[in-house]
C-alpha cells in the first residue's frame, strides 16, 4: 500500500480527525464527568473544523452554536448542579462483559470499515465547490427540494417543545 501525497488539506484533515478520535476516546475513558463533558466539547469543535474543511460552513457553525454553545452548557450545568465528583472504580476486575463488548465493538468497526474504507482510499482533496455549503445554497435547497421533510422536522421539534413543557409544568 502506498502512502497518499501529503497535501495541506490532508494534513488538516488528519490533525482534526486524529484529535476528534482522541477526544472521543476521552469522553468514554475519563472518570471525572466534567472532564468527560469537556472532551465532548472539544470533539464537537473538531467536527466543526472537519465540516469547515469540507466547505460546509453553515453546518460547522450550526454545530458550534447548537451543540457547544447550548447543549453542552446545559450538560455542564446539570453535572455541576448535581455536583458529581470523580467516579469511583465501578467495574469489577474480572467482568466477562468487557472482552465481549470489545469484541462486538471491533466487529462493528470492521463491518463499517470494510464497506467504507475501499471507496475512500485515495481521496486527498475536497471535491465540493467552494460555495457548496453556504447559507444561500443550503436555504434554497431546504425550501425547494426538501421543503416537506424540513417542515416535518420543525413540527417534530415543536412537539418535543410542547411535550417538555407539559412534563415540566404539571400544574396549570
Amino acid at each position: 500500500m502506498q502512502m497518499p501525497e501529503l497535501t495541506p488539506n490532508l494534513m488538516f484533515f488528519g490533525a482534526l480527525a486524529g484529535l476528534a478520535a482522541l477526544t472521543g476516546v476521552g469522553v468514554v475513558a475519563l472518570r471525572d464527568p466534567v472532564r468527560s463533558a469537556l472532551s465532548l466539547v472539544l470533539n464537537f469543535f473538531m467536527l466543526a473544523g472537519l465540516y469547515f474543511s469540507l466547505n460546509a460552513e453553515f453546518l460547522g457553525i450550526a454545530q458550534i452554536v447548537v451543540y457547544t454553545g447550548a447543549i453542552m452548557v446545559l450538560f455542564l450545568f446539570v453535572i455541576m448542579l448535581l455536583n458529581l465528583g470523580g467516579q469511583k472504580q465501578s467495574i469489577e476486575p474480572r467482568d466477562f462483559k468487557v472482552p465481549f463488548s470489545l469484541l462486538l465493538g471491533f466487529g462493528l468497526f470492521a463491518l463499517i470499515a470494510s464497506q467504507l474504507f475501499q471507496p475512500l482510499m485515495h481521496i486527498t482533496k475536497v471535491a465540493t465547490p467552494s460555495d457548496w455549503g453556504s447559507p444561500q445554497n443550503l436555504g434554497v435547497t431546504l425550501f425547494t427540494e426538501y421543503v416537506w421533510p424540513f417542515e416535518l422536522a420543525s413540527v417534530l421539534l415543536l412537539l418535543g417543545l410542547v411535550g417538555s413543557i407539559m412534563l415540566a409544568k404539571r400544574r396549570f
Binding site: L38, E57, I61, T68, G69, A70, V73, L74, M80
Partner: protein
C-alpha cells in the same frame, strides 16, 4: 494600498490580526479608567485622579499591583480546569472582533478590515459569544468553592436564556439586509432612509423593527457580558466575588481584561449592525453633492467606528450607575417572558413586511409594518396587564403613624 495587495496573504492576515488584537489589548486600561471616572461623575464623586494626568495612569498602577500580588492557589482545586478557565474567558472577546469591519471595503482601509469577511458572519458572532460562558462555568467548577460554583451555575443559566433573544433579534436585521455578512449589513445601512430619502442613510436604528431589535440586543448584550444590572454570576453581596472568588493576581486580571474587551467588542457589534458602522453621520454626502465630506467620512472611518463603540461602552457604565441588580427570578422572566416574545414578534413582522413590500410595493409595506407594530404593542400591553405580576414585597422602614421615640430602659430595672 498596492503594497498591501501584493503582500503575502499570510502576512496580510497577520497584519490584520495584530492591528485588532494590539488595539484591544492597549485600550483595555483606558476603558477601565473611563468606566471608573464616568461612574464617579454619575455618582457625584471624583474618582481616580491622582496617578498621572486626570488619573490616566491609574490602570497601569493597578496592573503593576496585581502583577506583584501573591498568587494564591487553593489546594483542593481541579488544577487543569482552574488554570485553563481564565484563558478560555479571554478568548471569545478577541475572536469575536474578527468579523467587525472598522472601515469601508474600498479606499484607504481596503485589505485591512475586517480580519475575515466570512459569509456566516452573524452566526459566527453568536457561536463565539455563546462560548464565553465556558470560562465562567469552568472557573466556578474548578475553584472547588460553593460560591464560585453558584456563580458558574448562574452564568450558564443566564447566558443560555439571553442568547436566544439575542439571536432572534439579530435575525430580524438579517432578514431586512438579506445577508449574514456584517460588512453587507453596514453597506445596506448606507442606502436611502426608509427607501424614500436618498440624502439620508438607512441606519437600522431609524427603522421601526431595527429599533426594537436594537433595544432587545442591547439588553441581551449586557446580560451576555455579565455587567450590572445582570452581574448575578459575580454578585458580591451574595457570592463574595462569584466565579472568580478563588482567583488572585494575574489570573484575576485576565478575567477582568476579558470582560472589558468583550464589552468593547460587543459595543462594536452594535455599532456595525445598528448604528451604521464606520459612517460619521447618517447622511449620504454624495447625494448632497458634498464629495469632500464623503472623503472625510471614509478616511476617518476607524475614528468614527471607535467613537460610536465608546459611546455604547459608556451606555454600559450608565446602566451600571442607574439600575440595581435584578433578582434571579426577575432575570429569568425578563429573558424568557419579555425579550424572547418581543424579538420573535419582531422577526415575524419583518418577514411579513418583506412579503407585503414584494407584493404591494413600498408604501403599503411601510403602512402595514407600522400598523402591525402598533397592534403588536397593544397586544403585548394587554397581555402584560392580564398576566400575573411578579411577586413584589413591601417593606416598612419607618412607620409614620408610630411616635418616633426611643424608650430608654432603666438600668436598675433591667438588672432585676
Amino acid at each position: 494600498m498596492e503594497a498591501l495587495q501584493n503582500l503575502n496573504p499570510w502576512l496580510l492576515a497577520l497584519v490584520r490580526v495584530v492591528l485588532i488584537v494590539g488595539f484591544l489589548l492597549s485600550i483595555v486600561p483606558g476603558l477601565i479608567w473611563w468606566e471608573r471616572r464616568l461612574l464617579s461623575w454619575m455618582q457625584d464623586r471624583i474618582g481616580p485622579n491622582r496617578v498621572g494626568p486626570y488619573g490616566l495612569l491609574q490602570p497601569i498602577a493597578d496592573g503593576v499591583k496585581l502583577f506583584f500580588k501573591e498568587d494564591i492557589t487553593p489546594s483542593s482545586i481541579d488544577r487543569l480546569i482552574y488554570f485553563v478557565a481564565p484563558a478560555i474567558a479571554l478568548f471569545p472577546a478577541f475572536t469575536l472582533a474578527a468579523v467587525l469591519p472598522w472601515g469601508p471595503a474600498q479606499g484607504a482601509y481596503a485589505y485591512l478590515t475586517p480580519i475575515a469577511d466570512v459569509n456566516i458572519g452573524v452566526l459566527y458572532m453568536l457561536a463565539i459569544s455563546s462560548l464565553g460562558v465556558y470560562g465562567l462555568v469552568l472557573a466556578g467548577y474548578g475553584s472547588d468553592n460553593k460560591y464560585s460554583l453558584l456563580g458558574g451555575l448562574r452564568a450558564s443559566a443566564q447566558l443560555i436564556s439571553y442568547e436566544l433573544a439575542m439571536g432572534v433579534s439579530l435575525g430580524a436585521i438579517v432578514l431586512a439586509t438579506g445577508s449574514l455578512k456584517i460588512t453587507d449589513m453596514v453597506v445596506a445601512q448606507e442606502g436611502a432612509l426608509w427607501g424614500l430619502i436618498p440624502a439620508l442613510q438607512n441606519w437600522n436604528l431609524f427603522t421601526p423593527f431595527g429599533f426594537v431589535a436594537m433595544v432587545v440586543f442591547l439588553i441581551c448584550m449586557v446580560a451576555e457580558t455579565n455587567r450590572a444590572p445582570f452581574d448575578l454570576p459575580e454578585a458580591e453581596n451574595e457570592l463574595i466575588a462569584g466565579y472568580h472568588t478563588e482567583y488572585s493576581s494575574m489570573k484575576f486580571a485576565v478575567f477582568f481584561m476579558g470582560e472589558y474587551a468583550a464589552m468593547l467588542v460587543f459595543s462594536g457589534v452594535v455599532t456595525a449592525v445598528f448604528l451604521g458602522g464606520y459612517n460619521l453621520l447618517p447622511v449620504n454626502w454624495e447625494a448632497m453633492n458634498l464629495g469632500f465630506m464623503q472623503r472625510v467620512n471614509d478616511l476617518g472611518a476607524p475614528v468614527w467606528f471607535i467613537g460610536k463603540s465608546a459611546f455604547v461602552f459608556s451606555c454600559y457604565v450608565w446602566l451600571r450607575a442607574t439600575l440595581p441588580r435584578l433578582r434571579y427570578d426577575q432575570l429569568m422572566s425578563l429573558g424568557w417572558k419579555s425579550l424572547l416574545p418581543i424579538a420573535a414578534a419582531n422577526l415575524i413582522l419583518v418577514a411579513s413586511w418583506i412579503v407585503v413590500t414584494e407584493i404591494y410595493g413600498a408604501m403599503i409595506g411601510w403602512g402595514f409594518l407600522l400598523g402591525a407594530m402598533f397592534l403588536a404593542t397593544l397586544f403585548f400591553l394587554a397581555m402584560q396587564r392580564s398576566s400575573r405580576a411578579l411577586e413584589s414585597r413591601e417593606l416598612l422602614l419607618v412607620d409614620e403613624a408610630q411616635p418616633r421615640t426611643i424608650e430608654l430602659v432603666d438600668p436598675g430595672k433591667a438588672v432585676s
